[in-house]
């Protein structure tokens, strides 16, 4: 889960990392709580907010109302702005970059730093890779002093003690809350010490069971502040915890594996068709999940044909056939359904589908051709 800036900063502050004083603004009325001058920052889960005009400085209370209303009415990179973080401006002497993340090539936590932070850090780091410092960390140990000493040297910081505290608190968050990404950019050097001016934090969804209260609180906040309009299948899929990606075409796709699901999309595309969605049920799919997934995908009114791509490994084809047959029994069929089925217990599943009048194939290629042909009949 990618946290919104104010959520990330709250997490940092709770553990003792200095952040600018700030208040959340969700309506014009909230402007009364703001001290001026202030920096207004749109709370949306995307980068490049500054360049997109979603961060604005306001000097006096007099011109606050128009800026606040403008920002709250804006849509930035597809996200309607629902909340602003109003922060006290900080006297910045230098801007640095600091990030703690999981390096997926080395299978290790990685502490990364650059001696000049800010919006152009990626570009600058590419131009001067020798100034980008990388320290691989032992996930089972504490941060070593040598790591911080070396970091302080790269960042040209005299007060390595303040940096030690800062970095060990980041490490604490990383381990305590199962963060997979903590980026402080910029990390400001101020007369009062180090301050996290902006923060991006990603928590590991797979570890949600270890932090149930925290995750549900963060998620509820995000849902409240998510102004995007979702399609009906997206809403239904989210409620049922089904992986659903809308793709804009008219051939619905359901698969029981991610790899064959993506292969099916590519083959539909090569055959001249346009997939309406990607939907993968996972290796633990059964009749209930099949049934629920059908309801989600068929709720898309753009659909002309549905291709179900099944290759039974862990999943049992007799169970999935049962889910399909039950769906057909309960619903007046609105779109033609083509099923590719093979693998575990397909010898039972295929006759069940044929008896229900479903168009079935054992080879993927034949099923894709059939689905695209049906779509082109329209």
């Amino acid at each position: 889960m990618r946290l919104l800036e104010f959520q990330a900063k709250r997490l940092l502050a709770e553990i003792g990392i200095p952040i600018p004083r700030g208040v959340l603004v969700t309506s014009l009325k909230d402007t009364q709580k703001v001290a001026f001058p202030t920096v207004l920052k749109a709370q949306i889960p995307v980068g490049g907010r500054g360049k997109a005009g979603a961060i604005r400085k306001v000097e006096h209370a007099d011109n606050a109302a128009s800026t606040v209303s403008q920002l709250l009415a804006a849509t930035v990179k597809g996200y309607p702005v629902q909340a602003l973080l109003a922060e006290e401006p900080v006297e910045v002497q230098r801007e640095l970059y600091l990030a703690l993340l999981v390096d997926k090539q080395r299978n290790s936590p990685l502490l990364m730093s650059f001696d000049s932070g800010g919006v152009d850090v990626e570009e600058s780091a590419q131009k001067a890779p020798e100034r980008l410092e990388k320290q691989y960390l032992d996930p089972t140990a504490e941060i070593q002093n040598s790591v911080v000493r070396s970091l302080a040297k790269t960042l040209d910081l005299k007060d390595s003690k303040a940096l030690t505290t800062f970095v060990s608190k980041m490490w604490q968050i990383f381990k305590k809350y199962d963060a997979t990404f903590i980026e402080i950019n910029p990390l400001a050097v101020t007369p009062k010490g180090l301050v996290a001016l902006d923060a991006k934090v990603v928590l590991d969804d797979k570890a949600a069971y270890r932090h149930l209260d925290l995750f549900s609180e963060l998620k509820a906040e995000q849902q409240k502040l998510d102004g995007r309009v979702k399609s009906q299948p997206e809403e239904m899929a989210a409620a049922r915890h089904i992986n659903y990606v809308p793709l804009g075409g008219d051939i619905g796709v359901i698969a029981d594996g991610a790899g064959t699901g993506m292969l099916t999309l590519d083959m539909i595309h090569d055959a001249g068709g346009k997939p309406a969605n990607f939907c993968e049920m996972g290796g633990m799919a059964n009749a209930e999940i099949m049934h629920a997934t059908l309801e989600v995908v068929i709720s898309n009114t753009q659909l002309r044909v549905l291709l179900i791509s099944l290759i039974g490994g862990l999943t049992r084809m007799d169970e999935l056939a049962e889910g399909i047959v039950r769906y057909l029994d309960q619903n007046d069929r609105t779109v033609p359904i083509v099923v590719r089925m093979c693998g575990t217990m397909a010898e039972v599943g295929l006759p069940m589908l044929r008896n229900a009048g479903v168009d079935t194939y054992e080879d993927l290629d034949a099923a894709v051709q059939a689905a695209v042909a049906r779509q082109q009949e329209f």
Partner: protein
């Protein structure tokens, strides 16, 4: 021969008494896999499909010689179970669980590296050396003994390609699923290296997908170190950037994660590119 597992591999199974574990244990045993022991805390002294069950891995290895372990332990208990295997000195561990927290995976892989245990997975169907040994959940009827090595991120895609090859009479030496990511124990590159060294494997099929940059490392290995021919299929050519396509690792973040950049890298490395599964046996015939 084959790679990683062979007909004489002695196997330990963690979580063999659960629903999935029990079902898969019976299938592996019937296939001919030599199952030496099972481990489920609290069920020591019992038997599952005639296999003796122990309370701990340490007890199991004190009575039986074990070359490889497979874990059907659910994600939230997977770290403890994996560390038990690693600390018992077993050299190869297959981690099937999906959804293990990343910090746990990092801890497992660090211990494994220090102790010299190869970890396959997590979120993997395991592997099969057709006709010799099955250490995982591959539907065995789709595979045939032979000389094609397959390495795949996706389980389902390796079934699909195995099935098409088998229908065309092209058997496989070993079919390895490295897992759905985004963190992997054995990488595609590591498995390619084993296939290159295996006298029984004559040609290798690499099955990849959008997300991450493993295929770029694989391409580098193919380019500089492989003499055997490689056919590569990268799925997700039409996937949109930023959307998660099922696997935790299948999300396009950055240019290198796209299918097209991977296909280009593999092509430049000398691999033959297939656009779909049915093209693979045709390309193989052209090579002969």
């Amino acid at each position: 021969m084959a790679i990683l597992i062979a007909s004489d591999t002695r196997v330990l199974i963690q979580g063999a008494t659960g629903k999935v574990g029990s079902f898969q244990t019976r299938i592996m045993r019937d296939y001919g896999t030599r199952i030496a022991a099972a481990v489920t805390p609290g069920k020591g002294g019992t038997r599952i499909h005639e296999v003796p069950v122990f309370d701990s891995v340490a007890e199991a290895v004190s009575e039986h010689e074990v070359d490889a372990a497979i874990s059907f332990v659910p994600a939230r208990f997977a770290k403890d179970a994996a560390l038990e295997v690693i600390n018992s000195g077993i050299g190869f561990l297959v981690l099937t669980a999906e959804g293990i927290p990343e910090l746990d995976i990092l801890t497992i892989l660090r211990s494994a590296a220090l102790q010299g245990t190869n970890v396959l997975g997590p979120d993997t169907p395991g592997l099969i050396s057709p006709g010799k040994c099955k250490l995982g959940v591959h539907p065995q009827t789709m595979f045939l003994e032979g000389h094609v090595g397959i390495v795949s991120k996706s389980g389902s895609l390796s079934y699909e390609v195995g099935r098409v090859l088998t229908q065309n009479g092209m058997g496989q030496s070993t079919v390895v699923g490295i897992g759905g990511g985004p963190i992997w124990g054995l990488s595609q590159e590591a498995v390619l290296q084993k296939f290159e060294e295996d006298p029984e494997t004559t040609v290798v099929v690499l099955l990849g997908e959008v997300g991450g940059r493993l295929e770029h490392d694989a391409a580098k290995y193919i380019r500089y170190h492989m003499k055997k021919p490689v056919i590569a299929l990268i799925v997700g050519r039409t996937a949109p950037a930023g959307a998660q396509m099922g696997h935790a690792g299948a999300i396009i973040e950055g240019q290198e994660a796209t299918a097209s950049s991977k296909i280009k890298a593999l092509e430049n490395a000398g691999a033959v590119i297939a656009r779909n599964s049915t093209e693979i046996p045709e390309l193989m015939k052209e090579m002969e």
